[in-house]
């Protein structure tokens, strides 16, 4: 009986510690606000005149120390926790908005494409809105621990594969047959070699607006 009591009190104490820790954590994360006119319920917008799309994302601090190949992934996708930035925006909404602002999809890659093949489509410039200023995506990441000048993002399209795979991939660092847009600087299957810079990007859990401009 005595052992049972000790066991129950220990488990209660442990659950209490966990509960306090996680509730504190949830509170700090739950405080969402409007960023660049976007909220979690309306996470994406487009401007036809400026040929721009803005997406509301959340920084995943894991990839400020660990490598990934995913820039932005929808939270409900199977890769929802594997990207530098998470978003409520769906790949479909991003695809449709890119079409609306006049971008042309490359649709040249499939899962069977040769390793090293590069994505085609309209060229895109990607900016992160940090403290009200636009910072080029290339300034905020490192490839194998080194700075990179131009990731050469393109509108790959890939809507059919994206619907089929359900990965949630919106934007990838290297050429990808699934992501709606991806970087042509590095070919298909280049892999997980991209890390966010903690000196440039806000901390884990912060909201960040990303602007994608059709060149």
């Amino acid at each position: 009986m005595k052992k049972k009591q000790i066991f129950i009190s220990v488990m209660t104490a442990l659950l209490l510690v966990l509960g306090i820790g996680f509730s504190l954590s949830s509170n700090s994360q739950a405080a969402t606000k409007s960023v660049a006119g976007l909220t979690t319920s309306k996470p994406i917008k487009y401007d036809k005149q400026k040929k721009e799309i803005t997406i509301l994302t959340t920084v995943n601090g894991t990839y400020l120390t660990q490598p990934t190949r995913h820039v932005i992934v929808n939270v409900d996708g199977s890769n929802g926790n594997k990207s530098l930035l998470k978003t409520e925006a769906t790949p479909k909404a991003f695809y449709q908005d890119l079409k609306k602002v006049g971008a042309k999809a490359g649709n040249n890659l499939t899962a069977k494409s040769k390793a090293g093949s590069k994505i085609k489509g309209s060229s895109l410039a990607v900016y992160f809105l940090i403290n009200g200023k636009r910072v080029k995506a290339e300034k905020a990441v490192q490839v194998n621990g080194k700075n990179v000048k131009n990731l050469d993002f393109k509108f790959g399209g890939n809507m059919t594969t994206n619907n089929k795979m359900k990965t949630g991939c919106v934007l990838c660092f290297d050429s990808c047959p699934v992501g709606i847009a991806s970087g042509a600087k590095y070919g298909f299957q280049y892999g997980e070699h991209f890390t966010g810079k903690s000196s440039v990007l806000p901390k884990d859990g912060s909201q960040l607006a990303v602007v994608i401009k059709v060149k």
Binding site: F7, V17, S26, N60
Partner: protein, 382 residues
């Protein structure tokens, strides 16, 4: 409370597996590695349910001392691979991914650490209140029993993990390569800078390095003793080297004991083991002390050798502690004087020579005493 201890071990081993798996980006990108924690915990618990009832006592690996060793080795290994900040980030992500939550990484990792520490403290209290009785025949297993088969399995599994990790975990391979080159080249300065690079975690890393070099017998330990004294001063350096060498010796002893006599007899023949027994019988309890005193006898081979005999762990630890003390102090004195004056260096050199002479002299006396015991002939006639 035994169940609580087993669950704790399961969780710690699960966390270790999950965080080691992070080293494979291919794996990390494809599955939620957090699931490894409950899966491994259930596996460990099932092992206990299956084997626990068949054994004479509780499964040795789940006694409190082993629990503490598992926790310390896991923590040091992960710290050496990741360093502090990335370790807390990866731990936090592993747990929050498991729950698909948006918790802060630092709070999540902090909560897990606090939880494990509280859990461990409860186990400490329990181990004092209800100590697990020792195995009746655990130290003298000469036939393959279920107990020795499990020990053999666990030990071989541990060794395979160590070797496989080298080929599949880039961070671990880099660490092993870097450290091995420094130790083999006797590069004290490079080793000092490497340990110093870990900041306040330096002593922990140094301990881990000493344990690592203990397992790989050909690597010399005195380079690390020099580096410790060079970094932390001769007194603290000596204490650190002494403590970590004890841990290393204990691990070697347990590896040998885990492999066990029945299996060792098949590999190195009964005759060879009998010869080793004879050597230990000849010098009695002084064997370890004498061998430790001699600077030219491999520290690690002695530990492995002792593990194959029926020597008790307590006696082995006391003998190791006493035997390695003079050499540790002298080497630390040399290490501490590396950045100092020529007089200090000269004194250190004299101390080394003295150590060798005294140890040879002690060996001679003990040999004579042993011979006297055997034949009953007075000392001066031997």
């Amino acid at each position: 409370m035994t169940r609580l201890r087993i669950l704790y071990n399961g969780v710690v081993i699960g966390i270790l597996c999950a965080l080691l798996a992070w080293q494979s980006t291919w794996l990390q990108m494809r599955i939620s590695l957090g699931w490894l924690i409950p899966v491994v915990t259930v596996l460990v618990y099932c092992c206990y349910l299956f084997y626990g009832k068949h054994l004479q006592q509780n499964w040795a690996i789940f006694r409190f001392s082993e629990t503490l060793i598992i926790s310390a080795v896991s923590f040091l290994l992960l710290l050496a691979i990741y360093q502090w900040h990335p370790l807390s980030v990866v731990l936090g992500e592993t747990v929050r991914e498991l729950f698909n939550a948006d918790w802060s990484l630092s709070v999540t990792a902090g909560s897990v650490f606090v939880l494990l520490i509280i859990w461990l403290l409860v186990l400490v209290l329990d181990s004092y209140r209800h100590p697990v009785p020792k195995l009746n025949q655990g130290d003298q297993i000469t036939k393959l029993t279920l107990q020795s088969k499990i020990s053999l399995g666990v030990t071989i599994g541990f060794i395979i993990l160590l070797i496989a990790g080298y080929y599949f975990i880039p961070g671990y391979r880099h660490f092993i390569d870097t450290v091995s080159v420094m130790l083999a080249k006797l590069d004290i300065k490079a080793l000092r800078n490497y340990i110093a690079g870990f900041g306040i975690w330096g002593p922990l890393i140094s301990t881990f390095l000493m344990v690592f070099q203990s397992i790989l017998a050909p690597l010399p330990a005195f380079v690390l003793t020099f580096a410790n004294a060079y970094l932390y001063g001769w007194l603290f350096g000596a204490a650190l080297s002494w403590f970590s060498a004890m841990l290393g010796a204990l691990l070697c002893f347990y590896i040998a004991r885990g492999i066990g006599r029945p299996f060792a007899e098949k590999i190195v023949t009964k005759k060879a083991l009998a010869k080793m027994d004879g050597f230990f019988n000849e010098y009695g309890d002084y064997t370890i002390i004498v061998l430790r005193l001699l600077p030219f006898v491999s520290f690690d081979e002695v530990s492995y050798g002792a593990g194959f005999t029926d020597m008790k762990v307590g006696k082995f630890l006391i003998a190791t502690g006493i035997g390695q003390l003079p050499a540790t102090i002298v080497y630390s004195f040399v290490g501490g004087s590396l950045g100092g004056s020529k007089l200090m260096l000269f004194m250190a050199l004299i101390a080394v020579i003295l150590l060798v002479v005294v140890s040879l002299f002690v060996r001679k006396i003990l040999q004579k005493r042993q011979a006297k015991k055997k034949t009953g002939v007075p000392n001066d006639q031997v």
